[in-house]
């Protein structure tokens, strides 16, 4: 047993050789030659030989083949061995005295010959040993140079073979092509890993077929990125179609797997291989997200962008050293109270480049994310921001939390937690003052590791905001598992919701969903009063955007802050106070009661889900008489009391508006006529409360007309029908409530 275990090493295992030879004397001589060094299996007929090959191919290292056998010819055996993919790797040495047979044997895949009569033992041994070694080396090479899943060249070997092609075809125009699967990880998520693997295998197979025809090599660079290096061609669309058809068939299936391609045509061979494929990848990424354009060609504009990228990367260290990066601050407002409150800010970085001027983060953030420089930049920003928060604290005595970006690569930094804590401590801050924004897509990549890191940060008191939610592949599942404190909706997502054909349904669902996980939502990119109002109605907690303010350099932000927080204003800001949000608030609210006014009602009614609402129109009975007899102050008090009672009686999702002096409207959302008892009981309870006299006011009663969106025989819209219910009740001089 022990001996066997000691032998359990591939290098000293005795290799096994199959000798196919029918002549006893030859068998005996070969046995004598080889049996000391190898395990031998003898087959005297072709049938026997094929049987051994079939059952023991995995343990055989070599076949010695005699061509003249009593049953099956040696050439046929060779042909069969080479045709079967399981046995094709087996090296075959042919033993023959017939020089003419040699060419045919070589063509069929024989690796060497041993002549007959046999040469001396040491010659035979040397040939056998060399053949086995070569074949094992070749196998090892095959395993290392190929991607295990697809059998394509891996990155390193692809590069070597491409370089070889260059040497032999120096002046031959050549293309670098990148092929990518759109949303590949979604395919893995939806259909499972093995389906994803099958997709990759099929792509590989098809690409090999394609280059087989025209020459070239194919590699799998990583995950779902395929590289093709081939003689210059122009039928890129045809290649893409062929691969796509191999995956999806010709039909227009709903769930087509979509591919995109980037081509760097007629490459500059002065560039190293990787750079050429960087360009092809750049071209492929230029059509990312486009439905109509699936092939990107590398062109001069990309070249210029590349030059710019190079310059930015080169200039980066100096920019950090010379503090060319400037942090701007964009205020975030808590819009839940009736008047928005400045609650925090987001730090945004700008680059004041000595020759290029102001460089937008849109230009450099992606770039620095790709090459990892973003880490340095992030840390720079964290330090700047922490120092700024401290400075404001010291000068104005207020704490305004500021959110900073934590990039994906930062999360892989084992020292991240320590670094952040150090920055906070150094500036005498608490961890709650530096808010951390982590982009949604970071979570999808390596969830377990990210979650662990984020949990550590939260345990230390840092608040985590998930950035760009809704921009990528937001899995609703993530909300249940991820350690986050707020959800920041992607700016583009909000813009889309408020396009010409305003459609905010999805936005509302997301806010509600976040709410149900007790996560406040933050909306960025808010530009208009209408957007703000709608978001507020939907329950969005924090709003950021040009509506309140553009991102401001620290000095300007200070004066902004001093207005909003009633800080002692700095000298230059005096006299410039423009209260834009106050203006909007007034425009949408009734000044007496603070309820929504007519204008707000228009927006709310328009935006409501007209399949699931009830409209209640309530009039104060006998209002005109009381106004005449008791005066304006009395009726105003009365109106305020009604407003208070309505506010406390209806749900937070219902909208209460004052349309005219004595007329109120409640838009109840998410109700149908099946819940009318609930609606009636609310009205009865309102009237019950109002009937009780107070110190200053006598009893008040309301007449209420009601219409549900799912009423039978509608005559007008739900508001008009509620109104006609109210009027009819008035006509027959009834009080209380009536349903249309």
């Amino acid at each position: 047993m022990q001996e066997r275990e000691m032998d359990f090493r591939p290098s000293i295992d005795k290799r096994c050789i199959l000798i196919i030879e029918d002549e006893f004397i030859n068998q005996e001589i070969l046995r004598m030659f080889l049996s000391d060094s190898y395990d031998l299996v003898l087959a005297g007929t072709g049938t026997e030989a094929l049987d051994v090959i079939c059952t023991r191919y995995e343990t055989l290292s070599l076949i010695l083949l005699d061509l003249n056998l009593p049953d099956i010819g040696g050439l046929d055996i060779l042909r069969q061995v080479k045709a079967d993919s399981r046995t094709a790797r087996l090296p075959v040495i042919v033993m023959t005295s017939d020089a003419d047979a040699e060419v045919e044997c070589l063509t069929l895949g024989a690796i060497d010959f041993i002549p007959k009569p046999y040469p001396q033992q040491k010659v035979v041994l040397a040939r056998v040993l060399r053949t086995i070694e070569l074949s094992e080396d070749r196998d090892t090479l095959r395993w290392t140079e190929r991607d295990q899943l697809t059998g394509l060249y891996n990155k390193e070997f692809f590069n070597r073979y491409a370089a070889q092609l260059d040497i032999h075809h120096r002046d031959f125009p050549t293309d670098a092509i990148v092929l990518n699967v759109n949303h590949f990880h979604m395919i893995n998520d939806r259909y499972g890993r093995s389906f994803g693997d099958e997709v990759l295998r099929r792509i590989a197979e098809k690409l090999l077929e394609i280059v087989e025809e025209t020459g070239g090599i194919v590699g799998r660079n990583m995950a779902d990125i395929f590289w093709i290096y081939c003689p210059h061609r122009t039928d890129y669309a045809a290649i893409l179609d062929e691969v796509s058809n191999a995956l999806n068939g010709d039909g227009q299936s709903e769930n087509r797997i979509r591919l995109r391609m980037g081509v760097y045509s007629d490459v500059d061979k002065e560039l190293d291989i990787e750079r050429r494929f960087d360009r092809a990848k750049l071209a492929a990424d230029s059509v990312k997200g486009s439905v109509t354009k699936v092939i990107g060609l590398y062109d001069s504009s990309m070249y210029e962008a590349e030059l710019l990228s190079e310059q930015l990367i080169e200039d980066f260290p100096a920019a950090i050293r010379e503090r060319q990066f400037q942090v701007y601050y964009q205020p975030k407002f808590d819009v839940r109270p009736s008047e928005p409150i400045l609650s925090s800010a987001e730090a945004l970085v700008r680059w004041l480049h000595p020759t290029l001027g102001m460089v937008s983060p849109g230009v450099f953030i992606d770039l620095f994310e790709q090459n990892g420089l973003i880490s340095t930049l992030d840390q720079y920003v964290w330090s700047e921001v922490a120092a700024q928060i401290r400075c404001w604290k010291e000068r104005f005595g207020v704490t305004l939390p500021v959110s900073v970006n934590v990039s994906r690569v930062d999360l892989y930094d084992p020292e991240l937690v320590g670094k952040l804590q150090d920055i906070v401590t150094r500036n005498g801050l608490t961890s709650r003052e530096l808010l951390l924004e982590i982009t949604e897509s970071a979570y999808t990549e390596d969830a377990a590791q990210i979650i662990e890191k984020v949990t550590q940060l939260r345990d230390l008191g840092f608040q985590i905001e998930m950035d760009d939610f809704g921009s990528g592949y937001s899995s609703l599942n993530m909300l249940t598992t991820l350690p986050i404190d707020a959800l920041k909706l992607d700016m583009q997502f909000i813009r889309n919701a408020f396009r010409e054909r305003k459609d905010t349904r999805l936005l509302e669902v997301m806010i509600l969903l976040a709410e149900s996980f007790e996560l406040p939502t933050i909306a960025e990119g808010v530009e208009t009063a209408e957007q703000l109002f709608t978001l507020k109605m939907m329950g969005c907690a924090i709003v950021q955007g040009y509506y309140f303010s553009r991102p401001l350099p620290p000095e300007e932000f200070e004066s902004f802050m001093s207005q909003k927080r009633n800080l002692p204003p700095s000298a230059e800001a005096k006299g410039k106070k423009i209260s834009r949000d106050r203006f909007t608030y007034d425009a949408l609210h009734d000044s007496l009661t603070g309820l929504y006014n007519n204008s707000a009602f228009e927006i709310l009614f328009h935006d409501a889900d007209h399949d699931h609402i009830a409209v209640l129109i309530a009039n104060i009975d006998d209002y005109a008489n009381m106004k005449k007899n008791r005066g304006r102050v009395y009726v105003n008090d009365m109106v305020c009391r009604v407003a208070d009672v309505l506010r406390s009686s209806f749900r937070s999702v219902d909208h209460i508006c004052r349309l005219r002096e004595e007329e109120f409207v409640v838009i109840m959302t998410r109700v149908t006529s099946s819940q009318k008892e609930m609606v009636f009981s609310k009205i009865e309870s309102v009237n019950h409360t109002l009937r009780e006299e107070t110190e200053d006011l006598g009893p008040i009663t309301l007449s209420v007309g009601i219409a549900f969106s799912d009423r039978e025989h509608p005559n007008g819209d739900v508001f008009q029908d509620a109104d006609s219910a109210l009027r009819r009740m008035r006509e027959i001089r009834q009080t209380g409530y009536a349903v249309y």
Binding site: I25, N26, M32, F33, N68, S97, K116, P117
Partner: protein
């Protein structure tokens, strides 16, 4: 039977022995098997009925084994006849067969001695 007997018979015993790693008894044991090789009869019979294909198989097998043992008196005519038969040459094989028979019979005689 000794090596000298075989040498006198005309075998290239130096080469034959070298191929058998100078193991005399092994060499002699293999040589003794040659006269009884059924391929002689196969060759003769096939030529009698004019089946050159079968005759080639027999000759080719004999060429292999006598070659490896360097039994020149048989190997030389067997080699010659093998190449003719490989090309399916229609000729009179009698002279070559006689040489082969003599070589075999003589070897059989030595082996028995």
């Amino acid at each position: 039977m000794t090596i000298d007997d075989l040498k006198a018979y005309g075998a290239d015993t130096a080469e034959g022995l070298r191929r058998c790693m100078n193991n005399e008894s092994f060499y002699l044991r293999l040589v003794k098997m040659i006269p009884g090789d059924p391929n002689f009869q196969k060759l003769y019979d096939a030529l009698d009925v004019g089946d050159l294909g079968i005759a080639f198989e027999g000759a080719h097998a004999l060429k292999g084994s006598t070659g490896n043992l360097s039994l020149t008196p048989i190997f030389a005519p067997v080699s010659e006849i093998t190449e003719l038969l490989r090309a399916r040459t229609q000729t009179d094989y009698a002279a070559l067969i006689t040489q082969i028979r003599q070589g075999r019979d003589e070897l059989a005689h030595i082996c028995e001695g």
